[in-house]
């Protein structure tokens, strides 16, 4: 069996003392940042990129991936115990999870969240195992026009699924695409938009943009809001769920896993959309929808499963097509590029140890996370008592030194400050910056494939419509864009995001 051989290869890579330790470290860090509001996986992974530079690529990816899916576990803890989502993807969990905690069922809610996350995480990883190789096989036959169309489709989807105003999402995306082109032109070598700074000839540093928009701006906003932390933590009595609870969680976990796996693969989908959708679905199929918001166990089980499944399957487009589907995956592209890996269909074929090692580490990581989150819950709760006025100083100091150490230049520290201010303004203007980061990574790829396609065709744009796969991809994209323009769909989309506020 081919699959068994691959799994064995993956296990031989993932199960070494170093990689197990890094997987555990990633999961611990992920849980920690998941629990702490105001520090998300995008900023954390960007921050740790320079630190992983000296590691072998697969070890670095194992750790960084662990941070991402680990954060999905940790986020639920804060949501349930303090009614503050530790991550955006735990917003829905807070609705019913906190109510359960107030009724003295905090332990049960935590159990359901962790168990649901575990099952969904394993399911999502299984989806990668089964779906990844055939998809990569298909993608390896893609030429520039197909890639271009695929990216256009991805950008369309990301805009459709983005939170808030569509026009602003498009603007953020295009701004990202534009910023991605800063630096020397690949073909002519001429500097573009560098404003005379030689430091920009390789482009704006990815870490600076990510940390500025998601780290610095967030700190400023939290200071503004006067986040204090450390009060009103619900007590945990027992972690063991009753038989009814166990029975009640089975179907929501299954539905959440499937829905989350699908949404995770879609560009712009990702963990947050998955958890919203899963919650909405449960409410729809429930016999008494009124229980939701008042401590329904399904309201914890489904979104927590969905966000974990999505966290795993969002690796599929990255590992098979080489196209990031979300801002976090854009950071992973940064990580892979830094280690000299070109994300794409060739990864499975040329570096199977990397692909399978990472996949197997995800199974291991999910097992670790159950133990990290359930028996050790008491330790994590203590971190919630750290006041924000200490936390933000730690975030800032680590960010500043981290940014400086990427290339040992102060230039990038200033660039980060600029993007911090921009990120703050975008927030005030209600522009969600995630599409910007996605666009930033896709920008150079898009330009390269667009150029190449049109060189082949001699400047004829029909090349994108004459090739069948490219045509299908474009049609799906246009269909999506048209669907959003329809008033009915538009209303639904707005409703779906309204739930967030509630």
């Amino acid at each position: 069996m081919d699959l068994l051989a691959n799994v064995a290869l993956g296990a031989s890579v993932a199960i070494t003392p170093t990689n197990l330790a890094l997987c555990l470290l990633g999961c611990l860090l992920g849980t920690l940042i998941g629990i702490l509001p105001g520090l998300g996986p995008i900023a954390t992974i960007s921050l740790l990129l320079p630190v992983t530079y000296s590691m072998p690529p697969v070890s670095a990816l194992i750790m960084l991936a662990g941070i991402y899916y680990g954060a999905q576990y940790g986020g639920s803890t804060t949501a349930i115990l303090v009614n503050l989502p530790g991550e955006a993807s735990s917003v829905m969990t807070a609705l019913d999870g906190y109510k359960l905690a107030q009724k003295g069922r905090a332990g049960e809610a935590l159990f359901v969240a962790a168990a649901g996350s575990f099952i969904a995480g394993c399911f999502g990883t299984l989806v990668i195992v089964l779906g990844g190789p055939p998809l990569a096989e298909m993608a390896s036959r893609f030429a520039s026009p197909e890639y271009f169309s695929l990216m256009v489709l991805g950008l369309f989807t990301a805009v459709v699924l983005a939170n808030g105003s569509i026009v602003k999402a498009v603007a953020m995306m295009v701004l990202g695409l534009f910023l991605g082109l800063v630096g020397n032109d690949v073909n002519s070598g001429q500097p573009r938009m560098t404003m005379g700074f030689p430091q920009l000839s390789d482009g704006i540093s990815f870490v600076s943009i990510a940390l500025g928009l998601f780290g610095i701006a967030e700190v400023a906003r939290n200071l503004e809001a006067g986040i204090k932390q450390g009060q009103l933590i619900n007590q945990i009595t027992t972690l063991w769920p009753s038989r009814e609870t166990l029975r009640a969680m089975v179907k929501p976990v299954a539905r959440g896993s499937v829905l989350g796996s699908i949404l995770g693969v879609l560009p712009g989908g990702g963990v947050t959309v998955a958890s919203f959708a899963a919650y909405a679905l449960e409410k729809r199929v429930a016999k008494q929808p009124s229980r939701f918001g008042n401590g329904a166990i399904e309201g914890v089980a489904a979104p927590e499963s969905a966000n974990n499944a999505a966290a795993q399957t969002s690796f599929i487009p990255l590992l098979t097509l080489g196209i990031p589907s979300s801002a976090v995956m854009a950071v992973m592209v940064g990580a892979m590029t830094m280690h000299g890996i070109v994300p794409g269909p060739m990864v499975i074929e040329k570096q199977p140890e990397l692909f399978w090692g990472l996949i197997i580490s995800m199974f291991i990581g999910n097992v670790m996370l159950v133990f990290i989150n359930l028996p050790m819950i008491g330790m994590w709760v203590r971190f919630l008592r750290v006041p924000y006025r200490l936390l933000f100083q730690i975030i800032l100091v680590v960010s500043a030194i981290g940014i400086y150490s990427v290339n040992n230049t102060t230039f990038e520290v200033y660039v980060t400050a600029v993007f911090g201010v921009l990120g703050y303004l975008f927030h005030k203007f209600e522009c969600e910056p995630a599409p910007l980061l996605l666009g930033f990574v896709i920008g150079p790829l898009l330009e390269e494939n667009f150029r190449r396609s049109l060189i082949i065709s001699g400047g004829d744009a029909m090349v994108f419509f004459e090739r069948p796969i490219s045509l299908i991809l474009i049609l799906i994209g246009v269909g999506l864009a048209a669907a959003v323009a329809l008033p009915a769909v538009r209303k639904k989309r707005e409703e779906a995001f309204q739930e967030e506020a509630g």
Binding site: V167, A220, E224, K228, L396, V413, G443, S457
Partner: protein
Amino acid sequence: MSASVRVRSSADIGSGLLIAAIGAAGLWLVRDLDMGDASAMGPAYMPTAFAAILVALGIFLVGRGLVLHGPAIGTLWIRPIGCVTLAFVLFGLTIERFGLVVAVLLLVTVASLGSSERSWWETLLVGVALAVASSLVFVVGLSVPVRLLP
């Protein structure tokens, strides 16, 4: 139609102005570069396209904010973002000249001015603790090549 022009969504207008300004700056920056044509694109081709879209979207947003009601910009608290940004810039200015310890102390002190709850002794304590910890972790542990003291 009484579509009088008035600020109906300051968030839309603000974002529109910012986005259009960035787009315009982009167009200006690539003005001397070769455009080429579709079959052989020059370095300016795609940046010009994106920048032009930005200008268009920015103008659209400004227009929308003048005609349709929408979200308003909340209060802009200059202090937190200002202090955090200034702290970062000061860190950049001092780290190579005066070393990590001074840069971290300065960063922590200035950043603390952006928080609503602060006390001098606590800031000093946190600053010293973080300066020592970061020296150990980054310079001793991860051997980031930067001097510690002036």
